[in-house]
Every structure is written in structure tokens, then in C-alpha cells.
């Protein structure tokens, strides 16, 4: 298969089950929203070494946020709901409560009003309120989510009031939703952009990341959305779960088994985590189409022979 003269390899991206929460963070202006988003998503690239995979889903206009200030929608992924129970309050407490003027709201308010296997509630303001040392207050307000999403965030017919904690801080109050929703989600959708050199491949990969940036329900959690150290499972060293994906390293061509086509001198990966398989598939298609507008040789995908994850995104089906 070819798109715009670029070869689409007959392979698949292998993704696996994770859990996700969505936080809506607002601040006094776009600058502080950006700082808050950058800080809270720091060291949140891969659960191989981080507590959660965190990224910006979408930037929100004042009309789209609960309090009418500029905001951002963030997705946080962890292996299970318990992982999110640690990561979400820790990151919020250290990176958002400390950030000037911010407020934190639940982006999945209709998830798990009755907890079950598919969704859960995570205590957030309920834990962080104790920072208020007795001066904290709560406020219940009916807030209608304005954000479109594939996850069934349909406002129910009877609008229940949501509870927010108001923790007094030195610039006013830190407002934080009492609990946030967590849902089953998918992580590890990916594409490999194979180009001639660093500059050209980076340009194509950046264009692909920019194309998926406004898409709902997905994030690309790595630096600037791009991974240069794609990994394989296992290592020749004891205790290493992952090591470099030598089949795609251009400097190892000739020394170890290579999957690189003739002329490929650089490969970048975009990892896509999403709330649903459909959202990941849509984002992969958009990313591949955008990358193929540039001068690259092939697009491939990373997998582990189908052994690790139960979600397989076949490139030819995604582009069909």
C-alpha cells in the first residue's frame, strides 16, 4: 500500500489496556494554562518508568470551561485505577495546586456515578482539601460539561450538583473537584515515521503530531509528541524490561537484523493513547496522512509479535 508515494508497511501497532482520567485545568490566562499543563505532564511519558502517561488532549476556550476562563483538557493514563488513585492526586497537589491561579475540574463527570468494572471514581479534592488545615470549604454547583467526547459524557436528564473543594492559598483559593472519573482506555497505539535524515523525518513527524493535536480523546504523551528511543520487550541484561528497538536503529544496519528499507536514515515514533479504539484508529489515520505529505520513505508501526497487547491496529485497515 502507498499513500502519496509513501509505503505503508503491512504491519500493526500493538496496544494494551490502561485506565484514564481527564482533568480540565483553568487559569487566569493562556500563559498560566500552558505552564500548568507543561508542569503536570512533566515526567509523564511512559509507565515503564513514570507513575502515569500524561498529555494535553485539547486547549479549551473560555466558553468550553466550567468557570469561563481559558483552560486545557489533560488525559492521564495508568495501568489500573489504583495507579490513577496515586498519580492524579500527587500530580495535582504538586503541579497544579502550586501553580498560580489554577482550578481543576473533572473531565469525565458522568463516569462511574455508580462504580463498576468499566469505570471508577478517584478521590482528588477529597484528599487535597486537607492542605486547607481546617479552613477548606466545599461548594456544590450544577456544572454542565461543554466538552464533546466519544466517552459517553451525555448530560443526564437530571443534572446533579457537583462538589468542589475550595482550599485557601496565598493568591486566593485553589478550587478542585471532589472526585474525578476514571475509565478503561487504551495505550500504545503508534506509528513509525521512516525518513531519510533527522531534519526531514522530524519535519514530517511534527506535522503528524500537529494534525492530531486538536483531536478529542487522544494524547501523544512523549516529548513534543515524538519518541526517538523506540523500545522492544526485554534485554540481554537482567532486570531490564525494555531496551532499544535495534531493528529500527540506522547506525546498527549491517550489525544486527534490520527492518529499515533502503535509504532510511532516521525513524521517529508517535505513541497515541486514547479513551477508545476508534479514537486511536482515527488519530493514527490522521497522523499517517499528514506525515505522508512530506518527503519520507515509509510508515510502519511497533508491535511485539502480538504477545503483549490485545489491541491490534493494522495499518492497512486504519488507512482503508
Amino acid at each position: 500500500m502507498q499513500v502519496n508515494g509513501v509505503i505503508i508497511e503491512d504491519t500493526f501497532a500493538e496496544a494494551f489496556r490502561m485506565w484514564a482520567s481527564r482533568l480540565i485545568v483553568t487559569a487566569i490566562d493562556e500563559e498560566w494554562v500552558r505552564i500548568a499543563a507543561t508542569t503536570v505532564s512533566g515526567y509523564g511519558t511512559s509507565v515503564i518508568g513514570c507513575d502515569a502517561e500524561v498529555g494535553v488532549e485539547r486547549w479549551l476556550s473560555p466558553e468550553e470551561t466550567p468557570d469561563g476562563r481559558p483552560g486545557v483538557s489533560l488525559l492521564l493514563f495508568s495501568f489500573n485505577a489504583d495507579g490513577l488513585r496515586k498519580a492524579v492526586p500527587n500530580r495535582t497537589g504538586q503541579c497544579l495546586m502550586t501553580c498560580p491561579t489554577t482550578a481543576v475540574y473533572d473531565g469525565l463527570p458522568y463516569a462511574a456515578i455508580t462504580p463498576g468494572d468499566e469505570a471508577a471514581r478517584i478521590d482528588l479534592g477529597k484528599r487535597l482539601r486537607f492542605f486547607g488545615d481546617g479552613h477548606q470549604k466545599s461548594k456544590q454547583v450544577v456544572v454542565v460539561a461543554a466538552q464533546p467526547s466519544a466517552i459517553s459524557d451525555q448530560p443526564s436528564a437530571i443534572l446533579a450538583a457537583r462538589r468542589f473543594w475550595r482550599v485557601p492559598v496565598m493568591d486566593g483559593e485553589f478550587t478542585c473537584e471532589e472526585t474525578v472519573g476514571a475509565v478503561k482506555a487504551i495505550a500504545g497505539g503508534n506509528i513509525l515515521v521512516c525518513g531519510r535524515d533527522q531534519a526531514g523525518t522530524l519535519k514530517a513527524t511534527r506535522r503528524a503530531v500537529e494534525a492530531i493535536a486538536p483531536m478529542p480523546d487522544v494524547i501523544a504523551p512523549f516529548p513534543g509528541g515524538i519518541v526517538r528511543s523506540g523500545s522492544k520487550v526485554g534485554s540481554r541484561y537482567k532486570g531490564m524490561f525494555a531496551s532499544t528497538n535495534d531493528e529500527y536503529c540506522p547506525t546498527l544496519r549491517g550489525r544486527s537484523k534490520s527492518k529499515l528499507r533502503e535509504g532510511v536514515g532516521c525513524v521517529y515514533e508517535i505513541v497515541i493513547n486514547g479513551l477508545t479504539a476508534a479514537a486511536i484508529s482515527r488519530a493514527m489515520r490522521t497522523a499517517i496522512s499528514a506525515a505522508c505529505e512530506c518527503d519520507i520513505i515509509a510508515v510502519s508501526a511497533g508491535n511485539y509479535g502480538g504477545k503483549l497487547g490485545k489491541f491490534h491496529f493494522k495499518l492497512h485497515e486504519v488507512m482503508a
Binding site: K139, Q140, R166
Partner: protein
Amino acid sequence: MKYTIHYRSSNRLPTLVDGSFLRPDTLCTVDREAFAATPIPIGRTSVRLDEVFAIGGPEPSPTPFLLVMDTPPLDRLGANMAHGKLVVFRDVGDELGASMSGGHIRVLGNAGHRVGGPDHASRRGMTGGEILIDGDAGDYAGFLMRRGLIAIAGRCGKSPGYRMLAGTIALLTDALDAPGIEMQRGTILCLRGLVDASNAAPLAASHLAEGGEVAASAMPAMLLVLRRLQDLRWPLVAPLDAARATKARWRIASGDRFEHNKGEVLQCLV
């Protein structure tokens, strides 16, 4: 389901006083026959609802919805209601939404005393839901209120938020007679500044401790309340302006002094 009712003014029945039977959550979930046959207690006897009111509907509605087009000013309207929507186009009597726990009440006329207060001997007023009044309200609005929102667009009687436990009361008047006497927690918002930019005088009340002023953005939870009022298009006469709402300041007073100053009276300045 949605039902619309009109009072039949020509009937020869004794004057109705108690309106607590007008609850959308119980009335608007039954078919028209059962709705029409709902007994209305009058003295020791009762009459059918359709003897007193002309009925329109039912129409499909995602939430139980009772529209009262014409009625004498009944007391205890929406008392104890748990969900659904009640809209009244006329004045109502005392104890509107007494001890209600959820749902939404909108009154386009005036309301009497103890809006959202306790029903009968209950020690708590409303524990949830929203009451919006486009006209005036009587004394002690939010008496013993525990949760929820009361918004009054017109004038307001003695001590709104009297002995309130928690919750939110939004007012559009600055002419307040001793707001929040013996309030334990909760918020009373004076939003006059949003519709009239003239700088209001500080609330002089000996039971309140004066705080300073902060930017509206310093209290995002209050922006949520303003946003909700805007979504509900309250008040109809002067829609709140979002840009001004986010640029506004709050003048903070806390009280009651004898209740550890945990309640707050916030005056909006633009």
C-alpha cells in the same frame, strides 16, 4: 413528562392555601388520568386536581416538568421535591421549596417568606436543588438551608440566609437587612455590581467581620456559580456579562461572628 396547569378561578371551592401537592417528581411521572385524579386536600375532604386546575399535556420531557401558568399564591410549593422542574408564572406564598432535596424551581413572580426553609418542624431547610425567583422574596430566605442554590432577582426581606447551615444565596440587591444572621457556613452573594457598575457601600452589619477585596478569578468556585446563573438566564431583565464577571472583584465579609465566621457574604464590585 411535562404537564401544564391553569387555575380555574370560577370554581366555588374554598381558597387553596397549601400547595405542597404540586411536586413534579411525583405528579409528572403518571399518566393523564392519574394526574387529573390526584387528590387535593381541602380541609377534611379532598377534591380532584382537575376540579381546581385545567390540565394541558402530557408532553414528552426528559425530566418531570410541571408548568403552573396560573395559580393563587400557594404556600409550600415544591416542598420536599427531590428532582424535576417546577416553573410558576405567578406569585407564590411562603415556604417555597421547603426541605426540597433536588430539582429546579423557577418563579417568575414574587415569593413569600422562608424560601427554601424547613418543612414543618424539620431542623433543616433545603438540602439540594435550585430555586430561582425573578421577582421579590419575603423575610428569611434560605432559613436553615443546608445545600443548594437560591437566587432572588428582586428585593429581599429581612435577613436572607438567617441561620443558614450551608449553601449559596445569590441576590441582585444591595439593600440588605442584616444578611446571614446566625449563619454557620454558606455563601451569600450580592451581585448588584454586575448589573449596575456604581460602587456599592460596604455592608454595615455588626455580626459580620469585614475582610478585604480579592479578584473574582481568585475564587473560581464563585465563577462556577455565576456561570450556572448565566446558563439559567437569570435574571431575565439584565443578563450577567461574562467578561465583567471574570474581571470583577469580591468584597469579603465573614460571619456570623458568633458562629466562628465560617459563612461568607461576598459583594461584587466591578
